[in-house]
Structure formats: structure tokens, C-alpha cells
């Protein structure tokens, strides 16, 4: 635990330090270069804001209207057949579409079922091994104004489902 803590604390400072030392060592105008890049950061943030607003309103509506609960209620028994714990159903549905929403749901599951219980561990593993797919696709495609995304959603969701299934199986085997 201590080593892991140390690695995760030191990762960011070490990388910044290494890059700045490299830059200075190779005689670059480090601060001017930094400003150039940082200015790009402003553009990036502003260009993704409309995407975020549109996406968040739609996903917020999905949750607050009760549609998501309905989906969970319908899909729950189906997933029970394949032995997928029903407590994890809300997380599995929410994970690809909402980052903050899935963190809230995962925290809730860990609190209710116990952090170190099997369900709590599976919830943690799902959170660690998957990404907010819809958000990533939306941000990455809208920044270059792409409208036709072909099958990227299918492939990414396939990866998410694999991640959720393997998380469940691995935690079961290890416990």
C-alpha cells in the first residue's frame, strides 16, 4: 500500500520535473514553449464546452426522468440469469454514459455492500478498468467536427462489456 501510494503521489511531479529538465538541458526556450501550449489548452476547453452541455443535459434527463431506473428494472432479471449481481446493474448501465454519475453510484454500492465485500470489489474493479465511453467519443469527434463515427461506439461498448464481465469473473475467482 505504501509503495503504491508513493508511486501515485510522485508520478505527476516526477513527469513535470523530467520534462522541464529535458527542455532546459536541450536549450529550449522552456517558458515560451509552455505558454504556446497553454494557450492551446484554452482553445481546447472552449471547443469542448458545447459538447459537454448538450451531453450532460441529455444524460441528466435520462437519470432524473426515471428512464434509467426503468431500464435497470427490466435488465436486472435478465442479467440475473447469467449470474451477474443485480446490485451492480445501475453501475453497468451508467458507467459508459456518465463519469460523475458512475462514481456516485459506485461509492453508494461500496457503502451499502461493504468496500471489502465481493460486490464492493467488483464495483471498484469495474470503475478502474472502464472509461466514460460516450464522453470520450463525443469530445474526440466533436473537436475535429466529425459527424460520421462509423462503428466506434460498437467497438468501445464491446470493450466496456468485456471489462465489466472480466471484472466480475476475476474478483469471483480471487475471493
Amino acid at each position: 500500500m505504501q509503495i503504491i501510494n508513493f508511486i501515485s503521489i510522485i508520478a505527476m511531479p516526477m513527469i513535470i520535473l523530467l520534462i522541464v529538465i529535458y527542455g532546459v538541458g536541450e536549450k529550449n526556450k522552456v517558458f515560451d514553449t509552455f505558454l504556446e501550449g497553454a494557450r492551446e489548452g484554452i482553445k481546447t476547453t472552449i471547443s469542448i464546452l458545447p459538447t459537454l452541455i448538450g451531453l450532460f443535459v441529455a444524460i441528466g434527463a435520462l437519470r432524473s426522468s426515471g428512464v434509467l431506473d426503468l431500464i435497470i428494472n427490466i435488465a436486472g432479471p435478465v442479467l440475473n440469469i447469467i449470474n451477474f449481481p443485480s446490485e451492480l446493474m445501475p453501475l453497468a448501465v451508467l458507467r459508459p454514459i456518465s463519469g460523475s454519475g458512475s462514481i456516485a453510484v459506485a461509492t453508494d454500492i461500496m457503502k451499502n455492500c461493504g468496500v471489502d465485500s465481493l460486490i464492493g470489489k467488483i464495483a471498484s474493479t469495474i470503475m478502474g478498468s472502464t472509461e466514460t465511453t460516450l464522453y470520450t467519443i463525443a469530445v474526440y469527434t466533436s473537436c475535429v467536427k466529425i459527424k460520421k463515427t462509423r462503428y466506434v461506439l460498437v467497438a468501445s461498448l464491446a470493450a466496456d462489456i468485456a471489462g465489466i464481465v472480466v471484472s466480475t469473473v476475476t474478483c469471483r475467482i480471487l475471493s
Binding site: 508520478a11 489548452g41 464546452l49 450532460f56 471498484s124 472509461e131 474478483c171
Partner: protein
């Protein structure tokens, strides 16, 4: 994609709320969501600017070239159509940032790589093969230490917050391989732009 997904989300949830009388919740969530998006953007503004600046410094050193060389076999397998060394560099930096768990550093680099790939893309409104694969790799979330979850587990008083690291590695690697495999197959059977 969002031209289809977004209206579906809106139509289904708004009409469901009207029929089930859940309108107050819906109204609140509409305002809350816009606020949440703006708040996220404001907090992103700082970290994205910082990391864009730091990574700009990195891109002008030989450090990135060394990392790119290290990842060359993976890049060749994932993006057989990409020849431009500048894009290789941007993709490697994005992957390294992802692996180290620096999501905020990975995003500006990833968007830069998308920008460069778009310049070589022949159909400007459609994802090229390489862009599709790149997004799939980014949604797979390969990281050494899942810091956010460990922090949550720690705050909930877990006796071993880091015990999920190993299962996370297994799950994330298998998920990534599966996603890449599906993407490769879909690319092969759909005629895309070869850039």
C-alpha cells in the same frame, strides 16, 4: 453518432417524464446539468492549460522520440496506415499519459493527435480507420494505478484499498484487447478511409 443518440436520449426521457409526472425532477436536472458542464469546464481549463504547456515542452525534446521508439511495434500494429512521425509522437504521449493515470494530460494530447489525423483524413466528416482505433484505445482506459477508485476505497475505510489493482489490470487488458479486436474486424469489413 450523437446526431442519433442525443435526440433519442432527449425524446425518450422528456416524454417519459411528462407521462409519469416526473417534471419537477426533470426541470431541476436540466439546470443542474448545464451548471455541472460549466463547472467541469472551468476546472478542466486549468489542468488542460497546464498539461498542454508541459506537453508542448516535452514535444520539443528528444524525450518524446525515445518514448515513440519504445512504442513503435504497438503503433505499427494499431495504426498501419499512419506514417507521419509527428502523429506517432502525439499518440505515444497520449498513451503514456493514459497509462500513468494522468487523464487530464492525456486529453489535450489526444485531441492534438485527432487534429493531426484529421488533416490526413480524406473524408472530413467521417472517422478514418486510425482515428477509430485511436478512440477505442482511449476508451479502454489502460492505467497502472487506478488512483480515483483507490482514493474512494480509502475514504470509505477499506482494509486494503489497493487490493483491486491486480483484478483491474486483468480486466482492463482483456477489455482493451477485445475492443481493439472488434475494431480491427469492423475496419476490415467496412470500407473506410485508409488514412
Amino acid at each position: 453518432m450523437l446526431n442519433i443518440v442525443w435526440p433519442i436520449f432527449i425524446i425518450i426521457s422528456f416524454s417519459f417524464a411528462i407521462f409519469s409526472g416526473n417534471l419537477e425532477n426533470l426541470n431541476n436536472s436540466i439546470f443542474e446539468s448545464t451548471k455541472e458542464a460549466v463547472n467541469l469546464s472551468i476546472s478542466l481549463l486549468g489542468t488542460l492549460c497546464l498539461w498542454s504547456g508541459i506537453m508542448e515542452i516535452a514535444s520539443k525534446t528528444t524525450l518524446t522520440e525515445k518514448l515513440t521508439k519504445l512504442l513503435k511495434p504497438i503503433l505499427k500494429f494499431l495504426f498501419p496506415n499512419l506514417k507521419n512521425p509527428k502523429i506517432h509522437k502525439e499518440i505515444s504521449m497520449n498513451m503514456i499519459a493514459n497509462i500513468l493515470g494522468l487523464g487530464n494530460a492525456a486529453t489535450p494530447l489526444g485531441l492534438k493527435a485527432m487534429d493531426s489525423m484529421q488533416k490526413e483524413n480524406k473524408k472530413k466528416d467521417t472517422l478514418s480507420d486510425s482515428m477509430m482505433m485511436f478512440i477505442v484505445v482511449n476508451t479502454a482506459s489502460i492505467q497502472i494505478i487506478p488512483t480515483t477508485v483507490i482514493a474512494i476505497r480509502n475514504s470509505l475505510g477499506s482494509t486494503s484499498p489497493t487490493s483491486i489493482i491486480f483484478p483491474t489490470w486483468v480486466a482492463t487488458i482483456i477489455a482493451a484487447i477485445f475492443g481493439i479486436f472488434v475494431a480491427k474486424i469492423l475496419i476490415k469489413f467496412t470500407k473506410g478511409d485508409k488514412s
